[in-house]
Amino acid sequence: MKDILSELEGRRDNARLGGGQKRIDAQHARGKLTARERIELLLDEGSFEEFDMFVSHRCTDFGMEKQKPAGDGVVTGWGTINGRMVYVFSQDFTVFGGSLSETHAQKICKIMDMAVQNGAPVIGINDSGGARIQEGVASLAGYAEVFQRNIMASGVVPQISVIMGPCAGGAVYSPAMTDFIFMVKDTSYMFVTGPDVVKTVTNEVVTAEELGGASTHTKKSSVADGAFENDVEAMAEVRRLVDFLPLNNREKPPVRPFFDEPGRIEASLDTLIPENPNTPYDMKELIAKVADEGDFYEIQEDFAKNIITGFIRLEGQTVGVVANQPMVLAGCLDIDSSRKAARFVRFCDCFEIPILTLVDVPGFLPGTSQEYGGVIKHGAKLLFAYGEATVPKVTVITRKAYGGAYDVMASKHLRGDFNYAWPTAEIAVMGAKGATEIIHRADLGDADKIASHTKDYEDRFANPFVAAERGFIDEVIMPHSTRRRVSRAFASLRGKQLKNPWKKHDNIPL
């Protein structure tokens, strides 16, 4: 009997060694941790329960039958993050370069199916050379099986991808369909076709890092939502993100004890808006001063910085924040910022996360590059996302809310629940100067007259009261009491029920 028990131990030890000590050392030498080490860091101590440790591939071509490592290049299972259940798969680069075989895919599919069934997030750790070429179409089929499950799980449980090594070719499309993609600086890259193919086809010479490194995807392509310094930090920060997210679409977002007075007054916010309307200020200061304990988890920090997206907590409960950033491009909406914010709003709506919108927007960015790029349809995405969202929506206009961008930014007309404005708000079709030049075109030659018309326009429209008179603004609030007002607004919306008409699904302008 003892022998049988110790055989299990022996098999386990063997499986845990993955591709062997030499390859583990090589992985470490690259500054990367192994699949199992990453899981250790991701999950609560001792909480990991593994599935399919002894699964091995069934390929018999190209001499593959001689190497059948247990686990087949991916470690799967479940565990807890601060006591809350998550499913995880972690590709093992030490086994066939983490390449995806039919059985490797089956292991991933198994835990994804369980995650959807049991209502817990899926965290995928990607470190793979790509398809297992020896298996041919079986490997491709494996990818597609995973893709289909990503699609079915979307909106049911949160899916997080962490790219911690190569992720190329078809492999990129699984992460691409998850909710969040994070990368590790210098040791990860993602692309559909690698530098060699690029060179052959287009004659472009580019390194893997330039083509698909963390910097490229967080700053240029927006494929990734964030990048971390190393594996240890990446796992710690994914834990931090999971603390914000509900486990599935049937649950409310998590609440945790908080040490911050919901009624905290921030006198300094009364001077946040500069005297000069053309002077920028940092919207992140407002976010930090409204949030519980100043804690903000930013999503897509380095992309389309003219809009800020991320998670905070109010009275311990997760709230998604979308805010124009006057520091960058005056906080205007454009193609990139609309896409970024739209996707974030839809994520929040999927998972019942209330949305706080902070508005200081001078309008949409003009120009041929925007129009040719389809700003009409991209801007419509954000409009659509806000309009269809049924979660509690609280909006605070701090300064400018001009033109169509006013409508887009969670206005009253898009079923905003609480629409607040600071006394510094200016809700109008456009800035005073532009408006005057159109209304009083005849006086364009007379600078004095234009100045006087501009002054009249400012007096009449550069304030929140015209909108408040019509009920488009529920209340004009003091900046220093923003945290209190917003917290109470969300508290009052905890029982909100709102349903859109039945439909198979909508047809958002993709």
Binding site: E40, T80, G83, R84, A236, D292
Partner: protein
């Protein structure tokens, strides 16, 4: 007494004067420029009058505008503060003509003390010790030797036109005087085309010590002890204290009596300061007299219990001094640290912008020591006091137009040692964010052995920080205290995380006791045993520290008690730990599970890219023009390019000398923050 007083100043000193005026029941009028519309002194005053655009030469120092404000408000007296119009005799004359009292000395005193040569002459006549020297032309080396002997060695031989150390020699003997004269003369002729030379006493180990005097218009005058102001950076005082750790009662008395004699010689009537330079043998020489309230007056107030501003106002109203020299006692020790909006890591470059966070330490000075300006007797043993004179507030703006000093933090204690310790804690408790500031540097000075021993000269900063300030490296004993505190705090934060909703019943995360704290390149493996009152943090060498605090996650200031002594940490957020500021050190503290720490060791160390040879774009914007080309040599401060951002043109300048190696941007390019614009060789 006056009903209404106008304060012709801004910032902390305007606020300071308003406080006393209010205490005396006098109405206050502030004046303000466009840049100060929302300033603290404006909101503190009973009335405020706008006097023009931001630059001081179009507002605060325009006599006509101030006079208009006086007429408009009906103020009967004007307190000028320091700087601006405080030592402007024309302003004092204008007030006299208008029949408005000037809270300061008579015009004649301002005039005679305002001129260096006149003031020195008057001082000599009043029997005040001045730096011996010979101002006339010196013909030859023999004459130089004779004069040097008259003065007494060591002497300094200087070119009249000199500057930057050129044409300057120090001589300790006849031979050196002869040589020095010749070489100075040659150097001066070559460098300046002017070979005139003069000789004066060379003051060794110079200290800057000044005497506070107070006189009324009835011929009474007293001195209120001294202030030591030797800690200066480029003639800008940084740290002051009273009394001086260097003076003995005899020297103090001699200096004080001479200072009063000088004041009386010019019919002084107000508070004033006589500055001396004191050498290593306690010889003192008159430098100049400041005919106004000094920036550093609070340290004198703290050890004498006299409210100088009140006394100035009373004197200006014609009252007689109510205290005599015998009433003046110096009790305890007071230290002042000047908080500047200057970034010590960037060679003390002024920093402007919004104060996103400004939380000075709790003030306690007004309680035990000063009530209605009267000394309340000796504070109980061990009790300390904190006073912060400030002109800013959280959410306020530090503008580019005025002095970068934003607060004067003072501590008082029965002894110098305790006053320094109180200052260390007060500095640690001071929260400033949004702008660069010199708090880390001040902390470093408070811990510097030379300062602690009181053995300092005016060359202290230049000698001890010759290459600028590069932060503080803490000794292990301090690191352990911080490590223990961070471990205990981290544990609290981690336990809170496990209290999130939606967890699996019966399978909760158990937060462990063992942690590895990494800071300043050192690892400390600790075990945290928490109980109701605090935590005992055991180190792997068997030693332990007891940590108690009511810190909760998110608090930006952790006030702890570590083994019975206080520790105050400024806390910021970083992934997996804390950013901690303490005693001038800025630390990244990681707190990890043992296994996590083990794996973290495998992570490659990433050095930040060397950006010292690059010009990075400080803000997103558009390149308007590039002023340099490849191969060009640039000097420190030279304009390199202009970036337009938010409709403002920002000129970027060279931080040091260099040769342009590469220009990566051209006019019209749109840049993001930290884009490399120019690379240097």
């Amino acid at each position: 007494m006056f009903n209404k007083i106008l304060i012709a100043n801004r910032g902390e000193i305007a606020c300071r004067v308003i406080k006393t005026a209010r205490k005396m029941g006098i109405g206050t009028v502030a004046i303000y420029s466009d840049a100060d519309k929302n300033a603290l002194h404006v909101s503190m005053a009973d009335e405020a009058v706008h006097i023009g655009p931001p630059p001081a030469n179009q507002s605060y120092i325009v006599i006509d505008k101030v006079m208009d404000a006086i007429r408009q408000s009906g103020a009967q007296a004007v307190h000028p503060g320091y700087g601006f119009l405080s030592e402007n005799s024309k302003f004092a004359e204008a007030l006299e003509a208008e029949g408005v009292a000037f809270v300061g000395p008579p015009v004649g005193a301002i005039e005679s003390m305002g001129d260096k040569i006149t003031s020195k002459k008057i001082a000599q006549e009043a029997g005040v010790s001045t730096v011996p020297g010979y101002m006339g032309l010196i013909e030859d080396a023999d004459e130089a030797v004779r004069i040097s002997n008259d003065i007494g060695y060591p002497v300094m031989i200087k070119a009249s036109a000199g500057g930057g150390g050129k044409g300057m020699r120090i001589a300790w003997s006849d031979e050196e005087a002869r040589e020095g004269f010749q070489s100075s003369k040659n150097e001066a002729a070559n460098s300046f085309g002017d070979d005139r030379i003069f000789i004066e006493k060379f003051v060794t180990q110079p200290r800057h010590i000044e005497i506070q005097v107070l006189c009324d218009s009835h011929g009474n005058g007293i001195y209120l002890g001294e202030r030591e102001c030797s800690i200066q950076r480029r003639n800008q005082k940084v740290v002051e204290e009273a009394p001086s750790p260097f003076l003995d009662p005899e020297t103090r008395k001699a200096m004080g009596e001479q200072a009063v004699a000088l004041a009386k010689a010019v019919n002084y009537a107000s508070a004033g300061t006589v500055e001396f330079i004191v050498d290593g043998d306690k010889n003192f020489y008159f430098l100049e007299m400041n005919t106004r309230l000094q920036v550093e007056h609070p340290v004198t107030e703290l050890i004498t219990g006299v409210d100088l501003v009140e006394q100035m106002i009373r004197v200006a109203a014609g009252e007689k001094l109510s205290i005599t020299q015998d009433d003046v006692t110096l009790t305890g020790w007071a230290i002042e640290n000047r908080l500047y909006a200057e970034d010590p890591y960037r060679n003390f470059l002024p920093s402007i912008g919004r104060l996103t966070r400004y939380r000075p330490p709790q003030e306690t000075a007004a309680g035990p020591l000063l009530v209605n300006g009267k000394w309340q007797g000796e504070a109980p043993e061990g009790e300390t006091a904190v006073r912060n004179d400030t002109g800013v507030y959280e959410g306020g703006e530090i503008s580019m137009y005025y002095d970068p000093m934003i607060a004067k933090l003072c501590t008082w204690a029965p002894t110098r040692e305790k006053a320094i310790e109180a200052m260390r804690v007060a500095l640690d408790s001071f929260e400033v964010e949004g702008i660069g500031h010199n708090l880390p540097f001040l902390s470093a000075v408070m811990d510097h052995p030379k300062f602690v021993s009181g053995d300092m000269t005016t060359a202290f900063i230049a000698e001890e920080y010759p290459d600028g300030f590069e932060g503080v490296t803490l000794p292990e004993v301090d690191l352990r205290r911080i490590a223990a505190s961070c471990a205990a705090m981290h544990r609290v934060a981690e336990i809170r995380r496990t209290r999130v909703s939606g967890r699996m019943d019966n399978h909760e995360r158990k937060v462990g006791k063992r942690w590895v704290v990494t800071l300043q390149g050192q690892d400390f493996a600790v075990q945290v045993n928490a109980d109701k009152e605090g935590s005992t943090v055991k180190f792997d060498d068997g030693s332990s520290l007891r940590v108690a605090s009511d810190w909760t996650p998110g608090d930006q200031l952790a006030v702890l008690d570590v083994d019975g002594s206080p520790l105050v940490l400024k806390i910021g957020k970083i992934s997996g730990g804390f950013r901690v500021r303490n005693r001038g050190a800025d630390l990244k503290v990681h707190v990890r599970r043992p296994r996590q720490a083990e794996l973290a060791k495998l992570m490659p160390e990433k050095l930040p890219p060397d950006t010292s040879k690059m010009l990075l774009c400080p803000m997103p914007g558009l390149v308007v023009k590039i002023d340099v080309e490849v191969g060009q040599e640039v000097q420190e401060g030279q304009a390199l390019c202009t970036i337009e951002a938010m409709k403002m043109e920002n000129i970027l300048r060279a931080e040091k000398r260099g040769v342009v190696a590469k220009v990566n941007a051209g006019p019209g390019d749109s840049l993001a923050v930290d884009d490399v614009i120019i690379e240097f060789e």
